[in-house]
């Protein structure tokens, strides 16, 4: 599932970048991103954060943020749903894109993905029809995907001649080429052209594969070729092909078993012991080792080594008994929580559980139903973790809304009081009056109006003295005093006139400063009033939304956990069924070993002349 998912994702990348990561080097330059939201989607997608990318796509669509990448976004969305196993949703998206009259390049890609969905659903005729709708605008890097898909659809339909023609002289790039050759070999063999098919496999199985994926394909080609040659009686050729299968790969067991039979075919039983002994020592969990343990004493018997044969059967019986004990332990573990731990663990990582159970489960074939259910369980666990995370986040959001409400309730009355008591209007009225007065003073040109308090006191004293002097009897003293008063009055008037421009300017400046201060105070007042008005928007209405979301989270969590329980039950049943099947097989090996052992003993105690040519029963092994 993981591997398949990655491969699919790599191909999905091609729909965006027009460069399949699986087959070609990365593009020299990234595509031009014209909407930031699209860039964010790609950032998540290229980190294989499938759900993150889907959610960001949905958000961007809701906010209408993908004006320049709408078609690409739909293609990616469909592809992501497909990679997540949601074929119906993906198909709906691709059909909608076609119905909306997308540009030809996008239409061709949509038809490709629809073909792929049909093929995955085993609707091969519909897949072929969808492939036929692809025009000339499919991005070039997707041509390899298309050819590969078409060949697989035709293979599925049994149209082998067409596959042979389709893949003749193909120019598939990189890794695609090896797969095309393999598929062509399959088609050739099905049409009866076994010679050319074997030639193709032989070519495919030679050389050093640059990647693990290709090495696996090479192993498969060599094993197929080896088995075919063995069947055709070409034991030498079979051994050559089987020896090319890697010993650390998943096909090693079958290759070693077949290699032994290739030697046995030529009655080279001692040579057969080589691969079989090697396989018996591997102790793998898929049972091939036990088959080899039975084949080894059989070979010893063929070369008339009864002692070794007896020893070998005894070892096989002991190994089968030990294997049965291990299987019993594994069955017990599968009935407990360890199975769930194993199912949820990353299959690419070392086992998280001790004991024999992991080895049996990891040895299951990639298409074994156990793997699909385990993959679903991992998906369900990821959904559960996501929901638990939201449950925590919603709690925090609820607290924050409550804190905002409390804070508002605390500061709002004070702020309202401040607004009520700020006296700003009274100050504005005074400012207006002062402005009017200054204007009148300037119009009247009255310097005394801007006199300082000391000068005003002097002016008052001068007025008082003038009245008193006027009340004196006429005479020299009164004139002298009057003269002195006029001089003082003149000096004061000179001073007032001299200071007048500066004082008028200062007064005007002070008024302007007051004006600015009033404007600032008004802005602050407006800001405070706006904050007061907007304050409730920070918490009002959110309680209901958070509560509704929390209810959705709880409801989904309950469904996820219920489904987890149901699927785990299925997983347990599958695991136990598989282990019991193995138990039956091993019990059969044990029976064979014991029977062969008894027969070998019987023969060992009889004189050779009395035994004739009757050998002990041979193991029922197949390569």
């Amino acid at each position: 599932m993981i591997r398949g998912g990655l491969t699919l994702l790599a191909t999905l990348g091609a729909t965006v970048l027009a460069a399949p990561a699986a087959a070609q080097p990365p593009a020299a330059a990234p595509p031009v991103v014209q909407d930031l939201a699209w860039g964010e989607v790609l950032f998540r997608h290229y980190q294989e954060d499938r759900m993150g990318a889907l959610v960001r796509l949905d958000v961007a669509e809701t906010r209408d943020e993908l004006a320049h990448h709408a078609g690409e976004a739909r293609l990616l969305q469909g592809g992501l749903y497909l990679a997540w196993g949601l074929r119906e949703e993906a198909a709906r998206i691709f059909r909608a894109l076609l119905a909306a009259g997308a540009p030809p390049e996008q239409q061709d890609q949509a038809w490709y993905w629809l073909a792929r969905i049909h093929h995955e659903r085993s609707e091969h005729d519909a897949a072929l029809a969808a492939l036929a709708r692809i025009g000339d605008d499919l991005p070039k890097p997707m041509a390899a995907d298309r050819l590969d898909l078409e060949s697989r659809v035709l293979l599925a339909l049994g149209r082998y001649d067409e596959v042979v023609r389709l893949l003749a002289d193909h120019r598939q790039p990189g890794a695609w080429s090896a797969y095309a050759d393999f598929n062509r070999a399959v088609a050739l063999a099905r049409t009866g052209a076994t010679g050319p098919a074997a030639e193709l496999l032989d070519r495919l199985g030679r050389g050093r594969a640059p990647t693990e994926e290709l090495a696996l394909l090479q192993d498969r080609a060599n094993l197929a070729l080896g088995l075919a040659r063995l069947d055709a009686g070409d034991a030498t050729g079979a051994r050559a092909a089987l020896d090319r299968v890697r010993l650390d790969g998943p096909y090693a067991g079958r290759a070693l078993l077949a290699a032994g039979w290739a030697e046995a075919e030529r009655e080279r039983y001692r040579a057969a012991l080589g691969p079989w002994t090697k396989l018996a020592a591997l102790g793998d969990a898929d049972g091939a080792s036990l088959e080899a343990m039975l084949a080894v004493p059989w070979a010893w018997h063929q070369v008339d080594e009864p002692g070794q044969s007896v020893l070998g059967y005894r070892r096989a019986a002991e190994a089968s008994e030990a294997e049965l004990a291990r299987l019993a332990t594994a069955v017990q573990a599968a009935q407990g929580d360890e199975l769930l731990e194993l199912a949820l663990a990353d299959p690419e990582e070392p086992p998280v559980v001790a004991g024999p159970l992991p080895a049996y489960l990891y040895a299951l074939a990639v298409d074994h139903p156990f793997r699909a259910v385990a993959a679903d369980l991992r998906d369900l666990e990821a959904l559960r973790e996501n929901l638990l995370e939201w449950r925590r986040s919603l709690g925090a959001l609820r607290d924050m809304v409550e804190a905002r409400r409390a804070r508002f309730a605390q500061v709002a009355p004070q702020a309202e009081q401040r607004l009520a008591d700020d006296g700003l209007e009274a100050l504005a009225t005074r400012h207006q009056a002062a402005s009017a007065r200054l204007e009148a003073i300037r119009a009247a040109g009255d310097p005394a109006a801007l006199a300082s308090p000391g000068e005003r006191a002097l002016l008052a004293r001068i007025d008082a003295l003038r009245a008193r002097i006027a009340a004196l009897p006429a005479g020299a003293d009164r004139e002298r005093l009057d003269e002195r008063l006029r001089r003082a009055e003149g000096a004061l008037a000179w001073q007032l006139n001299h200071e007048w421009p500066a004082r008028l300017h200062a007064a005007e400046r002070a008024l302007r400063a007051a004006d600015r201060a009033l404007a600032t105070a008004r802005e602050q007042r407006e800001s405070l009033a706006a904050s007061l008005a907007a304050g409730p928007a920070g918490f009002e209405g959110y309680d209901e939304r958070i509560d509704a979301a929390a209810a959705r989270v709880d409801q989904l969590l309950a469904r996820v956990e219920a489904d987890q329980g149901r699927r785990f039950g299925e997983l347990r049943a599958l695991a136990i069924e598989e282990l019991q099947r193995r138990e039956q097989r091993v019990a059969a090996y044990l029976g064979q070993a014991r029977f062969a052992l008894a027969a070998a003993y019987d023969q060992a105690v009889q004189p050779r002349a009395a035994r004739g040519d009757e050998p002990p029963p041979a193991p029922g092994t197949t390569p």
Binding site: G4, L8, G13, L42, R116, R152, L155, T194, A224, L380
Partner: protein, 177 residues
């Protein structure tokens, strides 16, 4: 099986049929989950979308929202390690990039490295990129931008590009409308 005879074997067709179950790189595909799991996945996407919107609306209202993004091209002259962002002399983000994230950036991904709130009015953003230059030596580039925060959300993008003419990376900050 009779002794002395090889075991049952299969012809080439059968051998290939046995081994051709995964005959193509794209053939290994995700199994279709059952109906309930499919429904749950779809509902989870919708729920995450709604909660994403709710959270952002609550924590970063449009009137005060400011987001800073980073994008880059192939990175021939600069291998990105980290980015620091300061707004009005206050550091608001420091991010260390993994190889996987840098790869996603090279392929066209855009990373939102900061989302926060700012009052309307003038502000200054300073960003410093840390990484390795063509000879593998540590390399720091800084860029700044004076911007005016308006009434709507403000989006800023740190753009790192290779300049063939200058034989070095160029770094600038751009505003999005």
């Amino acid at each position: 099986m009779a002794a002395g005879k090889p075991p049952a074997r299969r012809a080439l067709v059968a051998a290939l049929a046995l081994l051709a179950t995964l005959a193509a790189p794209a053939a290994a595909q995700a199994p279709a989950p059952d109906a309930e799991l499919r429904a749950l996945k779809q509902e989870l996407v919708a729920l995450n979308r709604d909660l994403f919107l709710l959270e952002e609306e609550l924590l970063f209202p449009a009137s005060t929202q400011v987001a800073v993004y980073l994008s880059m091209d192939v990175g021939k002259y600069f291998a990105l390690d980290a980015v620091e962002v300061a707004i009005n002399d206050e550091r608001v983000a420091k991010y260390l990039y993994t190889e996987r994230e840098v790869d996603a950036l090279h392929r066209g991904g855009v990373h939102r490295l900061y989302l926060g709130n700012l009052k309307t009015g003038p502000h200054e953003l300073v960003a410093v990129l840390v990484g390795r230059g063509p000879q593998g030596r540590e390399y720091r580039r800084a860029a700044s931008l004076q911007f005016e925060k308006g009434l709507g959300p403000q989006q800023l993008e740190l753009v790192l590009r290779d300049s063939e003419a200058l034989q070095q990376p160029t770094f600038q900050v751009r505003t999005w409308e």
